[in-house]
């Protein structure tokens, strides 16, 4: 498959970003440096090109029933303007994708991972039998910028909305959105900080990127997007969620409403929840600056291998070497002594809470 470019590709090149393929797109990994960009988001404000993300609209008389059928969270009775996080699962409880569902009065917007757009779209089509719905994959028609950081709200005015629409945007609570026609503005993100995600046409996305840039917003690449989401305890599809890693294993059961009438994967997830799973996702902190990276072995003190690291860093905000790891469930309790094998050495550590960093979302 040819590599795809987002509408902001030329902007990244002009800024001298280090580019790399991600999810089929040529994406900026960093501009000034991962640490500097990470800190800009934690302390001030940064922006990310997330135009590669997918947008699928579900309309039709059965839209609500259908979304509830393919989605683990419960959309029945959702108020328009609200957003829910959850997963689409296979019948065995494995994850097709994790996504956001935006509730409109008469339709739903599903925001899905770039790497999974084609797979997800096909999954939606394959599971629409018996539902009177229209599934409209508009992924290629939308650009998206994530504006993130404690000062994000001060910069929303640069979108150029009317005074009333600007006020509505500022009044948004966490996981709420407004659709202004030209722009969808939602109070969401993937960094653990307050912030907004702004969806608009590719042309307007370029103009918006430039006005944020000239207002002093730091351009941030996928490098720090990963360090930020990781510290905030947020999973990345492919690393912490996958066809093999269910939401129950990942500790995300709260997003699976097992009291719902039905949804794909419900029975398997209910069994997992009741009986436990062989493996569980945990946080591990090691007492050294060495970095536990994806694929490294997790061991007991006697050298028995009991798991694998899924994501790990020397955390920029916490100055600790921490990771997510999938481990045998009997060794997943908080405080359990677990070591990570890094190259030829073994570094002792222990199981800690997965939310490493105290998030700062708008209340």
């Amino acid at each position: 498959m040819d590599i795809q470019l987002t509408c902001l590709h030329e902007e990244h090149i002009a800024l001298g970003a280090k580019m790399s393929p991600f999810a089929g797109f040529d994406m900026p990994i960093q501009y000034s440096g991962i640490t500097e960009e990470h800190l800009a988001v934690r302390e001030k404000v940064g922006m990310f090109d997330v135009s590669h993300m997918g947008e699928v609209f579900i309309t039709g008389p059965d839209a609500e029933k259908y979304v509830n059928h393919i989605f683990t969270n419960n959309v029945i009775g959702m108020v328009p303007g609200k957003i829910l996080y959850g997963m689409m699962c296979y019948p065995d409880g494995g994850v097709v994708d994790d996504l956001l569902v935006y509730k409109y009065a008469d339709k739903f917007l599903l925001v899905i991972n770039a790497a999974n757009i084609d797979k997800d779209h096909q999954w939606m089509l394959d599971n629409k039998d018996g539902f009177d719905v229209n599934i409209d994959n508009q992924s290629a028609s939308w650009g998206q910028i994530a504006l993130q950081g404690p000062l994000a709200a001060d910069f929303i005015k640069h979108i150029g909305l009317s005074d009333a629409d600007l006020q509505s945007s500022l009044d948004l609570g966490f996981y709420e959105f407004c659709d202004f026609g030209d722009y969808i503005v939602s109070r969401t993100g993937y960094t653990g900080e307050d912030g907004f995600e702004i969806y608009t046409t590719p042309e307007k996305t370029v103009a918006l990127w430039r006005s944020f840039l000239s207002a002093g917003v730091a351009p941030c690449g996928l490098g720090c997007r990963d360090t930020l989401r990781f510290e905030a305890g947020l999973p990345l599809y492919g690393d912490e969620l996958s066809a093999e890693i269910s939401p129950v294993m990942a500790g995300l059961s709260m997003f699976c409403k097992l009291d719902k009438e039905e949804f794909i994967g419900k029975d398997a997830l209910a069994v997992q929840k009741a009986n436990g799973t062989a493996k569980k996702l945990v946080g591990i902190e090691i007492h050294d600056r060495a970095i536990p990276r994806a694929g490294y072995a997790v061991e007991l003190e006697d050298g028995t291998e009991v798991g694998t690291v899924t994501t790990g860093y020397h955390s920029i905000s916490l100055d600790k070497s921490i990771c997510f790891a999938l481990v045998n469930s009997e060794h997943s309790k908080l405080g359990t002594a677990l070591s990570i094998r890094i190259r030829k050495k073994v570094f002792p550590g222990e199981v800690v809470k997965k939310r490493f960093y105290q998030t700062n979302y708008k209340k």
Partner: protein, 126 residues
């Protein structure tokens, strides 16, 4: 354009060697530190560890990636630069001032086979 110092020898895996009699200081090039970005961890061997030319002797880690270090010449480690272990960012600040290990070479002729500054400059320009 990254900095290259005259008088040092360079490997294709971007380590440099400064020969001092039977001893040699080993570090990574300015090109290597620039490619890696912010270096956050330096994994170096212990004094008395012995390595052959081309053998992996440690690693540098940036936020995003780990990069293995290979011996440009064989020898026994006689000193480790603790300053760099304690403050890995020193390598970003000056990759030539901040050596990683000092070794006693097993065969000083091995250094002759490495690139000189001009050759390394050309090598990194490719």
């Amino acid at each position: 354009m990254s900095k290259v110092i005259e008088g040092l020898r360079y490997s294709e895996s971007h380590e440099w060697v400064k020969v001092d009699g039977e001893f040699a200081f080993i570090g990574v090039s300015d090109f290597a530190q620039a490619e890696m970005g912010d270096i956050t961890y330096v994994d170096v061997p212990s004094v008395d560890d012995e390595f052959a030319k081309g053998e992996e002797f440690g690693a540098l880690e940036s936020v995003k990636a780990s990069s293995d270090l290979y011996m440009p010449v064989g020898g026994v480690v006689v000193e480790v630069n603790d300053a760099v272990v304690d403050a890995p960012e020193l390598v970003n600040q000056d990759a030539y001032e901040n050596w990683l290990i000092k070794i006693q070479m097993s065969d000083p002729a091995e250094a002759e086979g490495l690139m000189d500054a001009a050759a390394y400059n050309e090598f990194t320009a490719k």
